[in-house]
Structure formats: structure tokens, C-alpha cells
């Protein structure tokens, strides 16, 4: 029997509405008891005085690049970066090389994750073969191999007929369909948010209507199909309004996520042709960011994610239009949420943690992100007041391309525990 006792921390477990100073007792990798002054004798004790004890974070939108682009990231380095950020469960997007549109690639990821024994990795398979938007991928086979969702992330399923078929088929197999909603014909080959900043910089803009249109199309088809439909990385006013309206209308099958950079930063970050600020959807103008924050405050948004997108340096030291898109985020996401939502006074810490734990876990229907008795003992212990400056040289991810480099953030993971075992302590993998 292996035991671990975490004492005197502020235990925040939104799934059981707990936010109080308490102890957490773990036996054989499961939560045995959460309560005040647990008197059990444990093999190992962690004093969490002054720290926050939360379920390990669940990030349902990451890119780990393996198989195919192991120079950018691997399942191992991505997992280590996740641990450094207090993340214990991820959903990997299928745009690897080859694309995860078949059971072989899904099986490879599941097997490799098991061997690594670092975090829980749930792969997402592709919606369509080769993410080409025409032929459906074998969703049932992928589900049986361990995929928890399908997504053509990186691109929308542009053809609404194909998207509707995909939803109806996903529903048949009770598969979650995640969609990158961005109508390509409306993005005009843009490379950043279309607005005053893009005009000043002379860069082709992506109008918000590209996302608005994609989200509206997706919700309409979700209503028609009844499939479990999840909107990836929402970033616009109208997208938030559309999800708000869908929820008001009682569409329980529609959920939406926001990637943390989209409520934290604006398109002003692109000034100086800063390629770390290049991503899709793009960082938006202040009015959109404010609307996204409002939607988070009002409980319209169901999950916060990173869209962790590691790249090699040569792909970012390029003219802005040619540079790779995306930012890493696993090692900064808790701090970004804490800094820009909690410390900024928008939401209480427990609400932010809910959006990064049990709520995303419910979307993928996995028993994660909770400290309920009997649950896997995946736990993150944070110092919520630790101030630090983001330095990419300290990242465990292979990707150094963070849009938060040089920014001061508040809050950092101190220990990360997976299945009752301490996997990260003080920024180092144990």
C-alpha cells in the first residue's frame, strides 16, 4: 500500500464545491479522503501551507507533434511541460504526420503515453481523412483505440454537408466532435486579426466574421444533428454571443472553449512584427477580448485550454506572413488564468480552476479533474501568489515560442502528482 498525505493546503475542488483549508489523503493512487486534520500516517507527506491544492489540470487542446515532428515536440517533452504547468491530462490534436485519422496512429499515441507514464494523454482523431474535409475518418475504430474526440484542428470542416454528416456519424458512436470554426473563404489569407493594428502594420487581416460564420454554421448543424459539438478556441464577440444564445435555447450538446491567450492579450502584441503573437484564431482587438472575459464570467465558456503549439526557432524567425502559427502554453496556462482573470478581479480562483479541471473533463466524459473520493489522485499544488517572469529558456517544452515571453505572471505549480505519485516538484521532473 502506498500512501501520500497533503496537509494544510487550500483545497479547491470545484467538482465537489470545496474551497477550504484541508488535508488530502491518497492511498494506492486514489483519493482516499479529503478533510480537516486527517490523522493518517503516510509514507510521504507534503506540507501545502499557503498553497492551493487542486485537481490536476485538464487541457483538452494541445499539439504534441508526435508522430512526425519530434523536432518540435514529443509525447515525452510535451508531457514534461504539462507537468511543469500542473497539467495531468491532455487531449492531443490529430494534425501530426501522419495525421491521426486512423486507429494505428491513435494506438501508437496511447501505447507511447502508457510507456512514458507521465500524464494521461487522450488522443483526438481527425474528423475527415487527412483533415482534407471530404471523406469521414473511421471514428468508431479510433474510439475503440482510445480516441476521446474527433477534430480537424487547424482547419474548419469547410463543407457544411460534410460537417453535418460528420456530426450525425459521430453521434452514432457517441463521439465528441470538436471543431476549429473559421470559414477559410472569409479569412482572405490573413495573418493576424483584421483591424487598426493590421492596417497600420500593412498585414493581411483575418476578419472576425470568418470565425463568427464558422461558429454559427457549427451551432446550426449541431442543433440539427444533436451531436456533441465542441467549439475550439473561441475568440470573438459574436462567437461568444452565439454560444450564449445556444445555451439560452437549451442546446445542451454544444460546448465551447477559450484558449488562455485569447482573454489575456490583444492584437497589439503583433506590433514590431512579433511572430510569437501569430496564431489562428488570431489575437483579437480589445473589444473582443472584453467580450470573451464577460462570457467566461457569465459561465458561458465551458473550458480553458492552451492550444499549446510548439515550433522550432527557424519557423518563427521569419517575416510575419511566413512565420509558423501558434504559441506554446502548457507551462504558463495556470498563471495566465490566475493573472488575467483572478488577480484582475474577474472571477474567483475556484471558477478558474473549474474551467481547467472538471468542466473540460466532463466535455470529454472522463473521470478526471476531481478530488472526489475514489478518483485518480491527479493533483496540482500551486503557489497562487508567486510572481515570475516568463523565460523561454526555462521551458521543458521543446517549443520556445511563447507569446508570454518577458511578461510577469502570478502563480506557479509547485508539485504535480499523477496517480498518487509526485511527478514534478519545484519545476523539476521527479
Amino acid at each position: 500500500m502506498s500512501t501520500l498525505l497533503i496537509t494544510n493546503g487550500r483545497v479547491i475542488d470545484p467538482s465537489s464545491k470545496r474551497d477550504e483549508v484541508a488535508d488530502v489523503f491518497i492511498v494506492d493512487g486514489k483519493i482516499q479522503e479529503v478533510g480537516k486534520h486527517i490523522s493518517a500516517i503516510a509514507e510521504k507527506t507534503i506540507d501545502a501551507t499557503g498553497l492551493v491544492v487542486a485537481p490536476g489540470l485538464v487541457d483538452i487542446h494541445v499539439h504534441f507533434r508526435e508522430p512526425g515532428r519530434e523536432d518540435m515536440e514529443t509525447l515525452e517533452t510535451g508531457s514534461r511541460a504539462a507537468l511543469a504547468g500542473g497539467i495531468t491530462t491532455v487531449v492531443t490534436m490529430p494534425n501530426t504526420a501522419p495525421i491521426a485519422d486512423n486507429q494505428t496512429v491513435i494506438e501508437f499515441i496511447v501505447k507511447r503515453a502508457r510507456e512514458l507514464d507521465l500524464i494521461t494523454i487522450y488522443p483526438a482523431g481527425a474528423i475527415t481523412k487527412n483533415e482534407a474535409g471530404s471523406m469521414l475518418a473511421e471514428m468508431r475504430e479510433m474510439k475503440n483505440s482510445g480516441a476521446v474526440a474527433v477534430s480537424d484542428d487547424g482547419v474548419d470542416v469547410d463543407n457544411p454537408g460534410v460537417l453535418l454528416s460528420a456530426m450525425e456519424y459521430a453521434k452514432t458512436h457517441d463521439m465528441l466532435l470538436m471543431n476549429h470554426c473559421e470559414t477559410p473563404e472569409l479569412d482572405e489569407s490573413g495573418v493576424m486579426h483584421e483591424g487598426w493594428v493590421s492596417t497600420e502594420l500593412g498585414l493581411p487581416g483575418i476578419p472576425e466574421v470568418a470565425e463568427d460564420h464558422g461558429v454559427a454554421k457549427g451551432i446550426m448543424l449541431a442543433q440539427r444533428s444533436g451531436a456533441r459539438f465542441h467549439i475550439s478556441h473561441m475568440s470573438t464577440k459574436a462567437a461568444a454571443a452565439a454560444l450564449r444564445e445556444a445555451k439560452r435555447a437549451g442546446l445542451a450538446n454544444v460546448t465551447g472553449e477559450v484558449s488562455v491567450q485569447h482573454f489575456a492579450l490583444t492584437d497589439e502584441e503583433c506590433r514590431g512584427y512579433n511572430t510569437h503573437a501569430k496564431m489562428y484564431p488570431p489575437l483579437r482587438s480589445r473589444d473582443h477580448v472584453d467580450a470573451i472575459v464577460e462570457a467566461i464570467k457569465d459561465g458561458i465558456i465551458d473550458a480553458l485550454t492552451t492550444d499549446h503549439a510548439p515550433h522550432i526557432e527557424p519557423d518563427k524567425i521569419k517575416p510575419f506572413a511566413d512565420a509558423a502559427r501558434g504559441t506554446v502554453g502548457l507551462e504558463t496556462s495556470f498563471a495566465v488564468m490566475n493573472t488575467y482573470l483572478v488577480k484582475a478581479g474577474h472571477i474567483p480562483l475556484s471558477q478558474g480552476i473549474a474551467l481547467m479541471t472538471h468542466k473540460p473533463a466532463e466535455i470529454i466524459r472522463q473521470k478526471k479533474g476531481t478530488l472526489a473520493v475514489g478518483a485518480d489522485a491527479d493533483i496540482a499544488i500551486f503557489d497562487p501568489d508567486k510572481e515570475w517572469i516568463v523565460d523561454e529558456k526555462e521551458f521543458l517544452s521543446k517549443g520556445r515560442n511563447s507569446v508570454f515571453i518577458g511578461k510577469k505572471l502570478v502563480g506557479k505549480a509547485v508539485h504535480t502528482i499523477v496517480g498518487g505519485k509526485v511527478k514534478m516538484s519545484g519545476g523539476k521532473i521527479v
Binding site: 487598426w196 492596417t199 498585414l203 476578419p207 510575419f320
Partner: protein, 339 residues
Amino acid sequence: MDVALRRKPMSEAEEDLSKIREGRDLSFFDLTSIDQVSLKDLALLYDVARRFRDYRTYKFSFNKGYSQVNAFFEASTRTQASFDLAAKQLSMDTTSVGSTNSSAKKGESFIDTVETLSAYNARAIVIRCSQAGAPEFVARHVAASIINAGDGWHEHPTQALLDALTMLDECASEDLSGRVVVVVGDIKHSRVFGSLVRILKKLNATIRVAAPETFLPDYVEKFGVSTSWSVEEAIEGADVIYALRVQEERGAKGDIPTLREYSKTFGISAKRLALAKPEAILMHPGPVMRDIDVHSALVARHPQSRILRQVENGMALRKALLWLMCDRADGATKSYELL
């Protein structure tokens, strides 16, 4: 190099130019945006450019021993020829690289290409490229002075400098206060507009823009311009009419039905020109699409056209810029960080 040795003995013309310069220097080491150019810089550039203009093709030895690379990754006639001639008339050695003969074809990155060119001890690298911001990006990482000769839809600063010189000469005043400049055409895809609007603001001009909505970028009015869909309305009482070319190669094709319809609605005809002030001038950065942007008869011969004057000013302006940038009186050098 011993600058003093190179300079002596100065010819009469060189002494004359040096006297005009009065030991002044520009505030910048690279020219990537009009935002960098102060009013003091403008005064210096124009003092020197006007005098260079008087000497026409006289060969000065000011920049002898310095090299210039013209890196034109996009097509160019007048800008490339004028930079090349300007450098040669300052006794510089010049060479050109382009997209068809460059290592970019072999997969070399933009920054590596420019770092290599800089390593030939080039004093100045003139860059034209399709990517906005690329000159600004490489300027931070090479020793050579980078001059932006057009980057994507962003800026073309030397064009704006020569255009403003042309306008100021016409008004015979220090700035353009009270003057109405109308810019007509494909604003959205135009780097010429990007620089022109910035310099006209600096000189206090009143700026109107006339174009179909599809040619107007988002929030263009934030530059401090008024916009109109009617070219007649915009031209009414103007001092300068500045026509732009429809940038078909940069994605303008889908923004208008046909050039024929565009010409009918926005092309500058004698009738439209007559709506402006009688002494108004007509300008165009070139290349002109005759009978599309500007009616053929108005291009070169018309008394109100300044299109060829712009070209002449371009030579003088670029000569001034190259001399002031390459041959600094204070001997200062730019700081940069190799990538």
C-alpha cells in the same frame, strides 16, 4: 576607412553640398517606415535633395568605397533603377539580387540571405519584398543600413519622401497646412499609401481618400483621413490628386468587377481633374495603367501632371538619403544583434 583621406580634395560641387548639409545627420540608421522620420530629418533630406537635383547627374565621390546591394524580391523598374543610379552618382559600387536568381529558391531563409549580403560589408541594402515588416525585422539583425523599398501592403518610405518634396515645391511652403490631398484608388493593397498618409499627417495636410469599399482597409479613418465612395465629391476643391494603381498582383482582382468599370467610376479624367482647384496638380507613383487609373492624355504631357517630376525628385531624394545614411558626419554606427 579614413574618411578624411577619401574626401580630399573636394570638388566645388561637393563643397557646396557639404555646406548645405552643415554637418547634420539623420536620426535613424535604417529607413523602414515614415514613422521614424522626424521633421528635422525631413528638413535635412529636402535641403540636400534639392541641391542634388540642381547638379543633375554630376558624379560625387561622397560614398566612394561603400557598397550597396539592391535586393528586389519583387518586380520594380523605377525604384530599382533610381536607387542604383543614385548610388552610382555617389560613387558607390552596386549589385542586385532578385527573386529569380536568389538563394531563396534553394530554401534559404530571408534573414540568412540578408545577413549574407550584409557580410559583404554592404553599407546599404535596399529591400523590396512581398512580406510586410520583413525589412524592419532584418534591420534589427544586420550591420548594413536597411532601406525599405516597399514591403507588402505596408510602406514604401522613399516614395512618400519624394512625393512630399514634389508637393512642398509646388506650394513653396514649409508644410502642407490647409492643403487638400485626395488619394484615389486601391488604398488597401498599397504600400505607397501606407507611407504617404504618414508623411502627409506629419506635414498637416488634409487627406481625403476616394475608393470603393473593397479597396479601403479596416479603420483607415484612424490615420486621420476622410473617406468617400465618390471620386467627384472627394476631388472638389483639392490641391493634389494622387492616383494609385489597382494592385491586381496583390489580390485586388476580386475587389472590383472589371478594370473597365473601375476606370469609369474612379479613373482620373480631364473632367474630374477640373473639379479640383485650377492650380491643382496630378500625381501618380507609377507604373501608370493608362486609361485605367489616369486617362492617357493626362499622364505625361498635361500641364497639371507632375508624374515625371516625381521620378526626377526620386533620384535626388534617394541620393540625399544614401549620402546622409552611409556617410555620417558623427561617425556613429548602428547597433544590431546577429540571429
